[in-house]
């Protein structure tokens, strides 16, 4: 049971480049989420999805794009990376009607 995985685990990219972070879950959870975590801050919601083809903005969506064509995948794209997007990104999922979110291991992204 793989659960929820993220790739890559570490990424270094340059300012202005496009980068996509992948998230995959094997539980068929309908809800999926993307958070970023910066030193001194808690987790901040970027985008979430209630089902395939249904996405909505979170607290800090600017500069990010998401899609969800399949239930199990929820990629996050930084269209033109900036240094302020250097962070640890966590993907999470949960069952509809359930409270518990299950987090992936995180992707540490550095934008130089």
């Amino acid at each position: 049971d793989a659960g929820i995985t993220q790739s890559p685990r570490y990424k270094i990219t340059e300012t202005g480049r496009q980068v996509t972070l992948m998230c995959h879950q094997t539980w068929s959870h309908s809800y999926m989420f993307w958070y970023r975590q910066d030193l001194g801050h808690g987790l901040r919601l970027i985008y979430y999805s209630a089902a395939a083809d249904i996405t909505d903005k979170g607290e800090v969506p600017d500069g990010y794009v998401v899609s969800r064509s399949k239930t199990e995948n929820f990629p996050l794209t930084l269209e033109s990376a900036t240094r302020s997007q250097t962070s640890v990104y966590f993907c999470a999922s949960r069952l509809a009607g359930d409270a518990e979110q299950y987090f992936g291991p995180g992707t540490r992204l550095t934008v130089t």
Binding site: H41, G42, L43, Y48, A50, E100
Partner: protein, 110 residues
């Protein structure tokens, strides 16, 4: 607006107790508590719903006072495994968007 947690950090000896507070300026429908160990992903501890209910997870319990718009997490007879950063989060009415507090770092020493 994110919930405010206090204290920001606490150091305990094994067996001691601690309380972490979480308060919000917005009406709370539910409070979710997570723990994150260093270098790992956050892990769900418990959810508290309106009604002031108290829940427990091992020797970790919590209360929710909706009138005061605050929740408290109680670490009782702390164990080394309790070390980590504890986050409270509040959900809106639909329950889909969680807003996390800044976290409370807990270090339990032998």
């Amino acid at each position: 607006q994110q919930p405010v947690q206090s204290p920001q950090a606490v150091i305990l000896r094994e067996g001691e107790d601690a309380v972490i507070n979480c308060s919000s300026s917005k009406a709370l429908y539910s409070v979710h508590w997570y723990r994150q160990k260093h270098g790992e992903a956050p892990v769900f501890l418990m959810i508290l719903l309106k009604g002031g209910e108290q829940k427990g997870h091992d020797k970790i319990s919590a209360s929710f006072n909706e009138k005061k718009q605050q929740s408290s997490l109680y670490l009782t007879a702390s164990q080394l495994s309790y070390s980590g950063t504890y986050f409270c989060s509040q959900a809106g009415a639909a329950g889909n968007k969680l807003t996390f507090g800044g976290g409370t770092r807990v270090l339990v020493k032998p």
